[in-house]
């Protein structure tokens, strides 16, 4: 599973995406990402699935486009 990351999160992951396997839902994803990248715990970000922000725990499938979005700062 490919998770897209943006903005200041690219500093933590060292890339514009991170790959993970066998993640059933977003809560599990966050838990495992925070284990592997402890700096993530201090970051503020939203999770988007298929370009829509999700705020509750959400089931994931291989076809999902998952992304982690730090606070927007366009304009």
């Amino acid at each position: 599973m490919k998770i897209l990351v943006f903005g200041q999160l690219t500093d933590i992951f060292g890339d514009s995406f991170v790959r993970m396997r066998d993640i059933p839902d977003t809560d599990t994803m966050v838990k495992r990402l925070e284990e592997n990248y402890p700096a993530l715990k201090k970051m503020k970000y939203l999770i988007a699935i298929d370009k829509e922000i999700v705020r509750e725990n959400t089931l994931l499938s291989e076809s999902c486009e998952i992304s982690l979005l730090p606070p927007f700062s366009g304009g």
């Binding site: 943006f6 903005g7 370009k51 606070p71 927007f72 700062s73 366009g74 304009g75």
Partner: protein, 146 residues
């Protein structure tokens, strides 16, 4: 069948002449009485003694265009406006250059002005775009919108 969304992104700064050309294109729309324009310009901010020399913009483009499409539909539904144009830079924009161009037009001024204000607020709050403030010394800071 994939729906093609209107692009708002362009590489680098938005030239002032582009704004002039956009305005000129509206002279044939003789129902328009008012244009409201907002421009974002990159500031040479001081951050702990370091000077911002440019902002480098990145975006989650697909999501930003989808969101912008929704915002556009909502604004058109709410205000009696004739036209709406949004342009946002990606990549590096030097201080003093234009990075955002929002342009609304309507028969009477209230609609254009209010629609333009709301568009700017929503673009800054809702579009997945990030600015990286680059310092003279090659350091940087991620921009924060207030």
């Amino acid at each position: 069948m994939k729906h093609t969304l209107k692009n708002i992104f362009q590489h680098g700064a938005i030239p002032a002449s582009f704004v002039g050309d956009s305005i000129a294109k509206h002279s044939s729309k003789t129902g328009i009485g008012a244009h409201s324009i907002f421009l974002g310009q990159v500031r040479a901010d001081d951050v702990d003694g370091k000077k911002v020399t440019a902002i480098e913009y990145t975006a989650y483009e697909d999501m930003a265009l989808k969101k912008m499409h929704e915002i556009r539909e909502e604004i058109f539904a709410r205000y009696p406006i004739t036209c709406m144009h949004v342009h946002h830079s990606l990549g590096k924009v030097q201080t003093g250059e234009i990075c955002l161009f929002v342009f609304t037009s309507s028969p009477h001024r209230k609609a254009a002005t209010e629609a333009c204000n709301e568009l700017v607020e929503r673009i800054k709050e809702e579009l997945p775009v990030w600015g990286k403030e680059l310092f003279t010394d090659e350091g940087y800071r991620w921009k924060i919108n207030h």
